[in-house]
Symmetry: C2
Subunit: 545 residues, 2 copies
Amino acid sequence: MIRGIPSTMNDDYQLNMTRIIQHAAKIYPKREIASRTMAGMFRYNYAKAYERICAIANALEDLGIKAGDVVGIMGFNTHRFYESYFSVPGLGAALLELNMRLPPADLSYVAEHSGAKALFVDDLLLPMAEMLAQQHEFEFFVVMSDRKVETKLDPVYSYEELVERSKKEREWEEIDEKSTATICYTSGTTGKPKGVYYSHRSIYLHAWGGVANLKIGTEDCVMQIVPMFHANGWGGHIGGTMVGAKLVFPGFFTLQNADLLVNLIIEEGVTATNAAPVILIPMLEYLRKIEPKPNLEGLRIGSGASEPPVAMMKGFAEFGVEIIHAYGATETSPLVTLNFVKPGLELSEEEYWELKRYQGLPVLGVEVKVVDANGNELPWDGKSMGELWIKGLWIAKEYYDDERTKDSFVDGWWKSGDVAVITPEGYVKVVDRVKDVIKSGGEWISSVDLENYLMAHPAVYEACVIAVEHPKWQERPIAIIVLKPDYRDKVTKEEIREFLMQRFAKWQLPDDIIFVNEIPKTSVGKFDKKLLRERYRKYLIEKVK
Amino acid sequence: MIRGIPSTMNDDYQLNMTRIIQHAAKIYPKREIASRTMAGMFRYNYAKAYERICAIANALEDLGIKAGDVVGIMGFNTHRFYESYFSVPGLGAALLELNMRLPPADLSYVAEHSGAKALFVDDLLLPMAEMLAQQHEFEFFVVMSDRKVETKLDPVYSYEELVERSKKEREWEEIDEKSTATICYTSGTTGKPKGVYYSHRSIYLHAWGGVANLKIGTEDCVMQIVPMFHANGWGGHIGGTMVGAKLVFPGFFTLQNADLLVNLIIEEGVTATNAAPVILIPMLEYLRKIEPKPNLEGLRIGSGASEPPVAMMKGFAEFGVEIIHAYGATETSPLVTLNFVKPGLELSEEEYWELKRYQGLPVLGVEVKVVDANGNELPWDGKSMGELWIKGLWIAKEYYDDERTKDSFVDGWWKSGDVAVITPEGYVKVVDRVKDVIKSGGEWISSVDLENYLMAHPAVYEACVIAVEHPKWQERPIAIIVLKPDYRDKVTKEEIREFLMQRFAKWQLPDDIIFVNEIPKTSVGKFDKKLLRERYRKYLIEKVK
């Protein structure tokens, strides 16, 4: 790194969380925050939120929490979780956002590994906290509740009583921007969770990037649907605070409560939110049932976690809603790409919607590249398939105290495990997971591409493409297909093969197509490719014999 | 400063200028940049601009420029000046933006004080450069021109020849974000210019703040009207680059060329620009002459340097143009406040326009306070008048190698020299300059407020209010008034006094009103308050005797 003349600017003025909430409280004191609790809708504003944040920080300090400590939190998206984003980091401590959906063994691993000293918990989750308390020793607990609750946790404090009895103002110390403010652990499917420790700097720059790219302003109303323990809830509530937008927290809900979210959008006047297609699809279904048809013109929804179906994006467009595909992961804060259709592309309507499915354009502050198996960068030609590597202002450079860092990071790049192509216009399209892609000779073949196309065949009910060993090409694809009942024994391998040839080159076609009655699934309902690969590993080799 | 747990994020990934242009060149390669030169409209794009930036950086390196060096530039707003914003800082060197309107003695002081090694100069400004070259020894010169020119400068290179002969790509080294990227010297009315050295970090965060607050996107077309040597041209071209907006550089123009700017807005489809009222007023006049009436719906203009007249803002609104009052100075990069009317204020139309004249709300990343003569913070009550102090991510903390730093900075706060009030809603209103405000006992009286109100009296042609010595109150105001010819000798002091009493408290009224035939002016046409204060200094003391 080279150094020029030291500047005369205040370059030691730190990017930190405290400044964000102080700014909102001073400049947008009366702007509303609405939080759906078990006791009904709680409404207050930035000035009041700041007072409560001061109070909780003062209380935590009295209870012995100091810079460098870790405070866990297990809760839903409410104003109390929101306040914790500022009260805990404001002390120089770190907020550990526990994912209550993790298996208990993983939860206790996370508590132990991070050395959490205290735990904030929503009353609804007390049983889970009581279980966790048997695995990891916390110094104290704080229950977030609107009512009196019974618990075995000890010593235990009521969040509201701490607010009540503590001073509502505070002189905050300046915090080094490279200090950890919040912590999320990945919920990887294999092995123990891995710790991503977000800095004040990375959270600030990430959220401000979201504000700039999504054009969020104080006139907006931002609803926080994504759980705040998933990569800081994608930063929506932080960005909203930066510009003094109205905030809405939906509290506890499940995938069955899409109606509740839609009603909040309409009643509170939400103009910006983030969510995954898994919840957006039932939201759209509910939206279609409302009479008269609602007009949600101006609402932008960042959609991530999986590819947004075109039908879903078109469906929302009928209500005036724009779906913006966003891509990222816990390791990336998460914003890596956003899908904006650039001016001057000259697309047909079909091409437009096809492009909207892509992961999108890398945002300023983040660099991406696709690399081959040897780590060599591949061209942005829309064809060269490689692992997507990511680097930037809010991208992890390691896992906390974890030997697996060396498997996932190289020279500041995070190896995403996703296989992607990048178009000449800079659009990233993820085509597979590295572990599922077929490495045939020097070329990579996307199992997902083949599967998606196969699923479009009228006779196909389910299709799964996996790599199996091959004596010459190392790996070759085979397709495992379940036909729809009406088509069983009526469709041949050759017909399927010809169908695929309309889209794929010959070398990309599966070496064999196997019809089965059922494809084995994992506990979350995905194809169990690991089992299938095991089962068919020697299939082609034996066939050749 | 307290430190927490070191994060796992890439907090050493530097905020710097090179990343901005690289991002634009990769993600928005074909987006247009239009530059008005003496040879006509030059059109290219971010990909081509980046190649030329690489070429100039390579050429400068061959000529011996390295990290820590200073390269001066004297030019108008063209693509070449724009390119220099990246080529020079990309080497770790600093771009010294010379204000060609400074007196020659000040220009040579700036060149000497900064130790500039080389000078880029527009061909139109060669005579000025030749003069400067006699005062300060440069190692070499680069002439920015579309034609062959004769010059006494030696050794001299042609910018275009350097581009031509140099490699169009480059591996850039990582630069410490706290290194100086560009330099502007203030053009203070008293004393030598003072050096403000902007860091890569401060420029990046400032420009990104502009993008977020003004909602600039790639679909925008940004015209750079403000000279790029005035506080980095307020950062418009940098923010535009960050999001890949179309850029327009108007080249050489004077205040008489308002038509040229308006025509560019219409022809190029400009949607965002910055300018001072001094040029916006004639632009509006020209706009009104165009048939058929142009529709500029969507155009936002940041207006700074002086308060935008309501008539001007209303005039632009008739064409669909929004004027956004912005406030700042060389020391503040310059963005301190932006005037947005917050939701929920419930204003009458008159109040709305009155509010739009205010300097506006501090943006995220900047703190402001008003302080009394002892540096004690005053309340945000819209009444308490004090000096406006400013601190933040892109605010200077000192002047470069200058003893006057101690007069202008305290604990990281820059003392703006402006007297302001801040409303309970956070709106800053500048009411005077500290040197012109009347310090009467413990209270401050705004000379500007009194002047503005006096000027509204039908008989008053010009009014100037100054502080003069007072035996009891230290200072008291007196008003010096020129009546319109028709009213001379027909209006009494008492009538003027009664007029003022409609608006001001008794203690704020001038102790005397003096009718004169002419008020002395400075070379730039402002009231010469220094001379007047000198002339009337003992006026009240002698009167009391």
